[in-house]
């Protein structure tokens, strides 16, 4: 498991350039351009279960959801950040991608540190130091745990 570390205010254009917004929508179309203007090595090197460790206001800017769809489709285990932009945060819940707001963990991590994450119990351990993070409200976990909003909506429509 690799930890990819990025700084503050990484915006949606850096995660997925706007010029592709109306030509690439599926995970296969998105993947080659993922983080293209931020880290050209990312889309080739990323592996299932990798973690992103990011600064403040990650995902700010456009409401385009390709960054989230792309990160989910390459199998990112979680994004641990100091803070996330609102629309990005909501988009992540809707794709079932795990975001964790834990500034202390981001501050503490140094390259080469061991990082353990337990989403169910709500903690991150970095080379022996443990940091807790709050759980999402039940109502929202229900959406995330259904595998994302569309799965959740399908269930609700069937029930109705």
């Amino acid at each position: 498991m690799k930890v990819w570390k990025y700084g503050d205010s990484v915006n949606t254009d850096m995660l997925f350039p706007g010029k592709y917004t109306y030509t690439c929508s599926t995970p296969d179309e998105i993947r080659p351009h993922l983080l293209e203007d931020l880290d050209p090595d990312f889309s080739k090197g990323v592996k299932k279960g990798d973690i992103l460790l990011v600064g403040e206001n990650f995902g700010c800017g456009s409401s385009r959801e390709q960054p989230v769809v792309g990160l989910k489709s390459v199998g990112i285990g979680a994004i641990i950040g100091k803070s996330f932009a609102r629309i990005f945060y909501r988009a992540a819940i809707n794709q079932g991608l795990i975001l964790i707001e834990c500034p202390e963990a981001v501050e503490t991590y140094r390259e080469g540190d061991d990082l353990l994450l337990n989403v169910e119990e709500g903690w991150i351990e970095i080379s022996g130091n443990r940091f807790g993070f709050p759980k999402l409200p039940e109502q929202i976990l229900e959406i995330r745990d259904a595998g994302g909003l569309l799965e959740y909506t399908r269930k609700r429509l069937e029930e109705a």
Partner: protein
Amino acid sequence: MGMTFAQKVLARYSNTEEVVPGQIVTLRPDHLLTHDNTAAIIGKIGPELDRYGIVDREFPVIVLDHVVPAANEKTASNHRKIREFVSRFSISNFFDAGEGICHQVVVEKGLALPGRILVGSDSHTCSYGCVGAFSTGVDRTEAASLLLRGELWLKVPQSMKIPLRGKLSKGVYAKDLILKIIGEISASGASYRSVEFHGDVDGLSMGERFTISNMGVEMDAKAAVFPADDVTREYFRSIGVKDDAYTSVRPDEDAAYFSEHEFDMSSIVPGVAAPHRVDNYHTVEDLGPLRFDQCFLGTCTNGRYEDLRIAASILEGERIAKGTRLVVAPASRTEMSKALSDGTIRKLVDAGAMVLPPGCGPCLGAHQGVMAPGERTISTANRNFKGRMGCKEAEIYLASPATVAASALYGELTDPREVIG
């Protein structure tokens, strides 16, 4: 304890007396806005649309604006899919290419009203705060779910109060003010919060309020609201919406705010957001000489008639500097028409402008006015992120229409107060 604007509106829509920040409510907004991304949105829910249809044919508002007219086969096919979808479900609020930028169209067609809730799969959906509506951006998947079920959850936000005092000086505009505010509050300073503008706002026109609310998301605000007042009422009367068509919502005097940030409008000077962050604020005076290859006047932030007129008043009878290009994209057909009627467009064209059809134009870098590596642009848009205008090695400076026009005249960053008589 009284309630903020956001609390009041969200309480009303969730049929409760009171809601508190942090509480999660489920509600049905009045409208869902989508644009060229409608094709991708409906592509996610093909079988569900066949089986369940859409929740209500009056619920969606669809405006084709991002890449209009279509730039290639792919965008043309997307537009075609959207038109077929509109026709299949008899969607009543559809505005085809050429009508204008979605946010401008929503407001000028009276689809966003005071006290109402709108969501849209576009981050600048927060614009409708200018008419006293609660509006916010969501992702495409949320939009797909909304088309089917018409409801979503929202967390009741904390609110920030921004009292604006005094009056803007000559040559200084709403854009200068909001760039300064974002510079102070920072690009994440209003995250998860609803921003309310108070104070001497009666001196700000609907267009100026639009510029300010539109950029709320650039400080990550969930909503950016001017609670409805006489200016709002007058605006709606001017577009044929009667007073009894809506019920305004204003915050209680004793509402509790997360924070308060006062700004003295008379102290604001022409400003810019320098690359590559919207909160990278500088005054024009402090930045020193900067040459521009392209000057862009338009977008949902500053592409209205009044913006074009400000630029035309600076460029009338003049020629833009050699070596610089001026690109103009009116925010809507209505705004373009006004600018045609009184000769504003002629003045811009005579000064050397290229005029594009109403739409988003070069703002998002998909077509029309894409930048080359090493080039620098000054733009009235709302974002200056790296790569935003189609090239990551280009620089984007954001400024008011007056600063853009004055800079086009000399080909370099120019304080508009130097050229306004």
